[in-house]
């Protein structure tokens, strides 16, 4: 392999995926359990081990206080931002949080920041990819909702670093989806991507031009998605239970988790059938039963779905296009499976939306395409280039608490702006700058990104210094600031205090803390897998010795097998996984004829009237394969 593989990752609210280009097509990399989706759930096992994905899901019901889901909703946010979420999500925040501080979530006797929890999910995806390639993976493209602000993007990048991944690019989810679709149809035209996921909603309008994917406008709501539909149904269920059965279960984590699971199943069922039944066993032996029709469901969720209309209209307006000028509409995100959502999209854009790619996978596939573009020199993506925009305006607080916008929303990124500052007092050495993101006129209504202190301004009379501050939004949508005092030519020192982010030092220490180093981690896992495979082949060999085929081998063959088996037992005790693999391969080779003989006799048995399944095929030695199912524990 000339270059190290760069993987594409969709770090979702509900599910996460990792994908790669296989030839000229992107493909999702399955996990050990064969599943393409890794639920974004993290649980603390009884033995203190962190469990991620499908295996963690059962903890949501059994020990909800030891499991975390939908952590994406907390990325880059402060405690004062999430009061609404706290009413609906069982997040257990650390008790000593101050406003403006990075959130911490309790799990067992420790607390974790959202990037640390996300890093655990990323680490699982990284592992799945390494298992697939049989080589370490350290570089990735990660997708984020288009409407994510700077702090949320930075938090996602931090999560990547903590997981041992160099994040080469953050790509907006709807844009990634358009890449996955655009690979097939190298057409020109205007495309709308409607992305309603587990926790976020995005709308993007793109212009396709000979392989250039130019986003012209984007809008959305980072707190609108399938979770909200679930919460609505849960609230109704809890109300029913209180009214009909006289049980107040609002504080019972376990009961709420059970109801959540049931309403999600009901929601999914209603996409394909006209009605469904909720039947939930409650603590104390009572049952909650209720029939829900699709009509009722659609009426209930209508107000939530309507919240997507405003952003769509704004995006069209910003893009300067009318609905009839949209050539194609693409649906992304699991929630777009709901027929009512499709109906709404059809009405908005007067087009039948594309649904040929799996809405759960299309973002990850697009991330793999972008990863391929970044790695360069691939025929399939050679002509493709993504030009994305910043979703929110960047501003500076000026006198009177007003926001002065310096980079407007929907500006193609990278984008920059230069501002000049001076001093108000003779000899003033510092100037404070407050950077904001958002569309509102007053600073207090915008999102505070950071406060910068320009330090070490040379002593001059008031108004004399001319400090040039350059704000640059990079291709990831993340802000960089640099400053220079023009009269002295001195680079001003900038001290950054991210309003809701982790400092570099904090991230560094989390990387160190995060279990073990990536390299060791990889070796160790390879070692475990190799040992497991060794055990499998030895067991299979033992079975072979019991079979009638064994007698048909020559003495030389038997001796050779015995020798190689001993060699395997020897290297197995060492810690070099490649030696173990070599020994496995050698033993495998030597037992090839045994396997054939066993197969022959099995076929012969089958011909005598038995079926192949009944015939004892044994587990015949198999050739190790990079995606072979390894058995842990």
């Amino acid at each position: 392999m000339p270059n190290e593989r760069i993987v594409g990752i969709d770090l979702g609210t509900t599910n996460s995926l990792v994908a790669t280009m296989e030839g000229d097509r992107p493909a999702v990399i399955p996990g050990e359990d064969g599943s393409n989706l890794v639920p974004s759930v993290v649980a603390l096992g009884a033995d203190g081990q962190m469990i991620v994905g499908n295996a963690a899901r059962k903890y949501l019901i059994e020990t909800p206080e030891r499991a975390i889901y939908s952590v994406k909703r907390l990325m880059g946010r402060g405690v004062e931002d999430i009061q609404d979420e706290l009413k609906l999500f069982p997040f257990r925040l650390a008790d000593d949080l101050e406003p403006g501080e990075v959130l911490r979530i309790k799990l067992g006797d420790r607390s974790y920041t959202p990037p640390e929890i996300s890093a655990l999910v990323l680490r699982q995806l990284k592992r799945n990819a390494e298992r697939f390639f049989g080589a370490p993976v350290t570089k990735a493209v990660i997708t984020v909702p288009a409407y994510f602000n700077d702090a949320q993007r930075q938090a996602t990048k931090d999560a990547g670093r903590i997981a041992g991944l160099e994040v080469l690019r953050l790509v907006n989810e709807p844009t990634a989806a358009s890449l996955a679709y655009g690979l097939d149809r190298k057409k020109n035209g205007t495309v709308a991507v409607y992305d309603l996921g587990g926790g976020t909603f995005d709308i993007s309008i793109l212009k396709l031009h000979d392989g250039i994917f130019e986003v012209i406008a984007t809008n959305g709501d980072t707190h609108l998605g399938g979770d909200d539909l679930d919460n609505l149904l849960i609230t109704i269920g809890l109300g029913d239970i209180r009214g009909d059965l006289g049980l107040d279960l609002r504080r019972s984590g376990e009961a709420v988790a059970t109801i959540r699971k049931a309403v999600i199943e009901a929601k999914i069922a209603l996409s394909s059938q006209p009605s469904t039944k909720l039947d939930i066993e409650l603590p104390g032996g009572k049952r909650y039963q209720r029939e829900i029709t699709r009509d009722q469901f659609e009426q209930l969720i209508q107000p939530i779905l309507e919240r997507t209309i405003g952003p769509c209209k704004q995006a069209l307006k910003d893009a300067g296009v009318k609905p009839e000028q949209i050539d194609e509409v693409v649906l992304v995100g699991g929630s777009t499976r709901i027929p009512k959502v499709r109906e709404l999209v059809e009405q908005l854009f007067r087009r039948t939306p594309h649904t040929d790619l799996n809405p759960d996978e299309v973002v990850a596939l697009g991330a793999a395409v972008q990863a391929n573009i970044l790695s360069g020199a691939s025929e399939a993506t050679k002509e493709m280039l993504l030009l994305d925009v910043t979703p929110l305006s960047l501003g500076i607080e000026v006198a009177g608490g007003v926001t002065d916008k310096i980079i407007l929303r929907n500006s193609t990124i990278p984008a920059s702006a230069t501002q000049f500052y001076t001093t108000q007092v003779d000899g003033q050495a510092n100037v404070a700058i407050h950077v904001l993101q958002g569309e509102r006129e007053l600073a207090k209504d915008c999102r505070s990104l950071a406060r910068f202190d320009l330090k070490g301004i040379p002593g001059m009379p008031a108004g004399m210094p001319r400090i040039e501050v350059r704000f640059l939004i990079d291709a990831n949508g993340i802000l960089h600031v640099s400053a220079r005092e023009q009269r002295s030519g001195k680079e001003a020192e900038i001290e950054v205090q991210p309003s809701y982010g982790l400092t570099d030092e904090q991230v560094e220490s989390m990387i160190l803390e995060s279990f073990d180093k990536a390299e060791d981690d990889f070796r160790e896992r390879q070692l475990i897998e190799a040992r497991n495979e060794a055990a499998t082949i030895v067991a299979a060999l033992e079975k072979g010795r019991q079979s009638p085929a064994w007698a048909q081998l020559t003495t030389g063959e038997k001796e050779n097998i015995a020798q190689l088996e001993q060699h395997l037992h020897k290297v197995e005790k060492g810690d070099d996984y490649s030696e173990i693999r070599k020994a496995i391969d050698a033993l495998n080779q030597s037992t090839m004829r045994l396997a054939e003989l066993m197969m022959d006799s099995a076929v012969a048995t089958a011909l005598k009237g038995k079926t192949m399944n009944e015939a004892d095929l044994g587990e015949g030695p198999s050739v190790p394969h990079p995606v072979a199912k390894a058995e842990f524990e």
């Binding site: 972008q370 790695s375 030009l387 990278p414 984008a415 291709a475």
Partner: protein, 235 residues
């Protein structure tokens, strides 16, 4: 930060083009140039926008950071700087108003602060906005402001006067027509400016420049007025 700009390619030594070396294609440290120069355009106002778009796409294919993901950090930084300049320049030049305002600023004009920011700032600090009412609008603006005051007072009392709202709506429509008219008028000066650049005197240019400044100021004055009307009616 960019390295010292030199006349030859940092990598192969050939005399370079503006943004990347014509011989080896490597991205070059950005030069502190204005947006017109970045695109190799003269400082003129009539711009072929489809041609500009084509050039923008072509340059994007050479300068975008995605193409330098595997390059050394110096090239990565240059590509980031260059493509942000490219995007800033394209955004400004493709829009006729932004283009005109930008050119006037290059010509040393400080346009009046007409932005909403300035309004809000003035409001919150209690100071007067440094905005002059165009004399020919004086009477109209005076009347309109009186009516808006009345409307606000009525709204505070929870009253509703359809006749007043209709009258304000009519005036707003008139203002919007004027706004469009000003844009058409401004367009007429682009060609005059471009001609003056080629063959006119300094005096000709200054005259045209001042006319355009006046038109832009009136235009943004009317825009603010329309916004005030919208606010008063919606509130």
């Amino acid at each position: 930060m960019p390295g010292e700009p030199t006349a030859s390619c940092w990598s192969c030594g050939t005399m370079r083009a503006e943004h990347f070396c014509t011989a080896c294609g490597k991205v070059q440290p950005p030069l502190p140039v204005d947006y017109f120069t970045f695109f190799g355009l003269p400082r003129k106002l009539e711009v072929n926008v489809p041609g500009l778009e084509k050039e923008f796409y072509a340059l994007s294919r050479k300068l975008h950071p995605d193409l330098y993901s595997g390059a050394d950090t110096r090239e990565q930084e240059w590509s980031l700087e260059q493509s942000s300049q490219l995007n800033d320049a394209y955004r400004t030049l493709k829009d006729p108003i932004k283009r005109t305002e930008y050119l006037l600023r290059l010509e040393g004009v400080e346009l009046e602060e007409q932005s909403k920011t300035a309004t809000e700032q003035a409001r919150s600090s209690g100071s007067l906005k440094k905005q002059v009412v165009p004399p020919d609008l004086l009477e109209e603006v005076f009347d309109l402001n009186m009516q808006l005051e009345e409307l606000r007072a009525q709204k505070r009392l929870g009253e509703d006067d359809p006749a007043l709202i209709e009258e304000i709506g009519r005036q707003k429509l008139e203002l919007e027509e004027k706004y469009e008219g000003l844009f058409e008028e401004l367009k007429g000066y682009w060609q005059k400016w471009d001609q003056a650049v080629d063959e006119g005197t300094e005096e000709d240019r200054l005259k045209i420049r001042d006319k355009m400044v006046d038109l832009l100021n009136r235009r943004s004055y009317i825009r603010n007025l329309v916004r005030d009307v919208n606010e008063a009616v919606e509130r």
